[in-house]
Amino acid sequence: MSNVLFDAPGPRARVRHRYIGVLTLIVVLGIFGFIVYRFIETDQFTAQKWNIFTLPYAQGKIVEATVATLKAFGLAAVLSLTLGLLLLVGRVSKHKWISAPTYVFVELFRAVPLLILIMIMYYGLPPLGYTFVTPFIAVVTGLTLYNGSVLSEVFRAGIESLPKGQAEAAYAIGMTKTQVMRMILLPQALRAMAPVIVSQLVVVLKDTALGFIVTYQELLYLAKMYGTQSQIGSPIIPSTIVVAAIYISLCLLLAGLAKFIEVRTKRGPAKNIKAQELVNEAA
């Protein structure tokens, strides 16, 4: 294998690489082994601490918490995509009095940390009389405002990545502005950006975990609840492992979908460095 950094290795380099490879594996297994050793030393793998996860009641609770996480994710995903499209329309508007406020809106909500946004909803609004704000509403609204803003920028980057001729040709055959956007630009932009959009949805899914901090009863909340019950030995590490497994598999599933779409459309995000940067910033 030859790439920008290295030539294809010769026989001596191959031997050296094999030694380095073995050494790497030893070091990594060592670190991993140490963690497992600490777990065993501090009795994290005793039956007492894991027993709770074999009870149908606890398992039901875990399913419930997973559904709560997915509910916040699903609603926030749909709403952010909708808000993203609305903001996009505002952003590309020819009228300054529409596009300027939209620009400010997008920039503001991208710059505020998501957790602060959620806290404004959860702690800030109820004292002002908006008592209907539950943790669920706070989390979903925060996720929507933030990711909607990020997604609108992703959509815009997608439209800007299209050749100018697309819009010009559409106008030339007499399409209206709305038609050009709806029939020509958006479908192509969405296709080009599909992998980036799905990776942004992974961010939404990951960020539902912030709900834990404002007492939304999702997976981490449950982990803390079981993890601090002393009569079953405070199994905080076992419960974190269980919850982590669920979270990571859900995210990997979505990320796998992004990869699948990327391979299918053969348009890697490499062409859309700007959009990738947005996603980096969002995560």
Partner: protein
Amino acid sequence: MDTLLNNLDVFVDGFALTLQVFLWAALFALILGTIVGAMRVSPVAPMRWVGTGYVNLVRNTPLTLIMFFFAFGYPKLDLPTVSYTTLAIFALGLYTATYVAETLRAGINTVPLGQAEAARAIGLTFGQSMSHILLPQAFRAVIPPMMSVFIALLKNTTVAAGFSVAEAGYIRANLSERGEPAIVVLLWVALIFILLVAVLSFVQRVLENRLKVLR
């Protein structure tokens, strides 16, 4: 305005800790990220596996979950006691390192293969071609996206507030004892973050224009 001025001490302490956490986590992420990034492009297969595995695993884990493990799980392991702040720095560093690694890898991949081949063809050694030809070019491509990673890190420091670190995200909890309205406090915190992000974005734009590679 009164809310800010009357409680300036709390605001200053909070943001001072935020910046401290940010800088240490950035340093840690940069070091670990460079190691992982180098492993991702290494010619040694096991190194690539480890790098890829780490990036895929940690990238798909919520930051809150990582902090949760460090804040609640770590003290159970009978290891040397460290403060919540240090644990938060480790969690943020481990998480951000994956983004640093990916950015570096993407930067190295932007350098055309011909550059390296030409460098080797005129007899430069590995070290020479790295330091004179490849890294300077990769560095330019890496700076703007790297700033985005650090902007995200700055915003992510707030998550530590959920785990007993008294930084900017925690100002609200501190001031609710003094009877300040939460919404006003939080809006001030949000505004200061917007300013901090604006400063970083400005630096990013300046560097981007300075370092633009014309190809």
